[in-house]
Symmetry: C2
Subunit: 217 residues, 2 copies
Amino acid sequence: MSRANTLPFEVMQRPLSPTQQKVYDRLRRHVARTGATPDLAEFARDLDVHYVSLKQHLEALATKGWIVFESRGRGRSPHLELPAAATGVPILGSIPAGPLSEAVADAEAYLPIPGMQDRGFALRVRGDSMADLIQDGDVVLLEKRPTERSGEICAVRVGEEDVTLKYLDRLDGHEWALRPHNPDYETMVYPASAIEVEGVYRGLLRGPVADALAIDG
Amino acid sequence: MSRANTLPFEVMQRPLSPTQQKVYDRLRRHVARTGATPDLAEFARDLDVHYVSLKQHLEALATKGWIVFESRGRGRSPHLELPAAATGVPILGSIPAGPLSEAVADAEAYLPIPGMQDRGFALRVRGDSMADLIQDGDVVLLEKRPTERSGEICAVRVGEEDVTLKYLDRLDGHEWALRPHNPDYETMVYPASAIEVEGVYRGLLRGPVADALAIDG
DNA sequence: CTGCGCGCTATACTTTTCGTAGTGAACGCG
DNA sequence: CGCGTTCACTACGAAAAGTATAGCGCGCAG
């Protein structure tokens, strides 16, 4: 598993050597499976390297910014943790203008949702075109996949403009309708070639809950 | 701090001896402050008791069901954790009929929201009287406090009936109006003596997010 | 009162982990 | 070649967790 096909938001970190990459992957796998970080000694046995080697690799990973690894003195279990960016879903600021792959680099926070590591992201909604269903300020969880059936709520980009959240109705093979929930807004029709589905609606958080549940990366 | 004025959902657990209660309270405080569980030795020093005594108390707490505490063999840090019920906000099943203080005993899950330990609870909404703002199946976070101003969304109980979620308008000193968001339903007016505010709306979760973020106690 | 059990505490010892220091081999690069 | 980086190992000390055992206070049946 090379750096290229892991996660898109691990961009600014310095590159890893092969064994460091291996250690990092195993650590991610272990955290994904058990939820907790392993003992250093146990982890070293699992990786079939010596404790000190593992420790050096973890220190290298820490200085390169991939994990948090701080000793707490002799005898005490060290504090080892993956950044939220590696386990959670990024909350991007209000709908971004540029491509999403760039926006995820400076996510404002992360939602600790396991099981949709790479496919998920969240947007803070601006405007009331989907009111009262979705309101201004809501945090919407989206799944990065194409539409499966007509009528789904999707985050779509029209041409070079900003991403908007609308019902996406398939009119025929060539045209899509972007239908708001709020009747004050108008349904717009575009050729299939002009729009791009960035994500499909999977749920939302409203109110202080969103901030309370989010953790910063 | 006696058992009576701690948390209402710590009801089914067996009672604690004074020192066990003290250990439990200090543990909760430490987890609330630092987020992590302390070392046994450090914790023992903090409590000014011996390591073995602390360990026995923790074992007693574990067998009584107040905490999770399992040793992992000599030298290895033990696994120590408070149940979600002690740190999170309980999600009660669809709006309960009986008094809330009883319903919290069998919460279906907990939301890990720090900072509103005792004041918060969540309900899974049934019905569409607040649609489209709040939909059937949404999980609504509520704060256990009286209304502060007219027009807030509240979970109120009318007489002996189920709890319902409505806008609560103060008409005058004696009467309140329960106003739905959905125009298909009618606004009801009751004397102040007949209604009881169980909680004030603080936000909601919709879709699979709710289940993904919840942890069971 | 006496003896017994029980809860709490304390001491002593073993096992394991974690931290640090130091060594050395393999490799790439100017 | 010299130099830095990565990787792996040995050795030792410090701190923590587990275990066994014993002392102390208290309630209680006899």
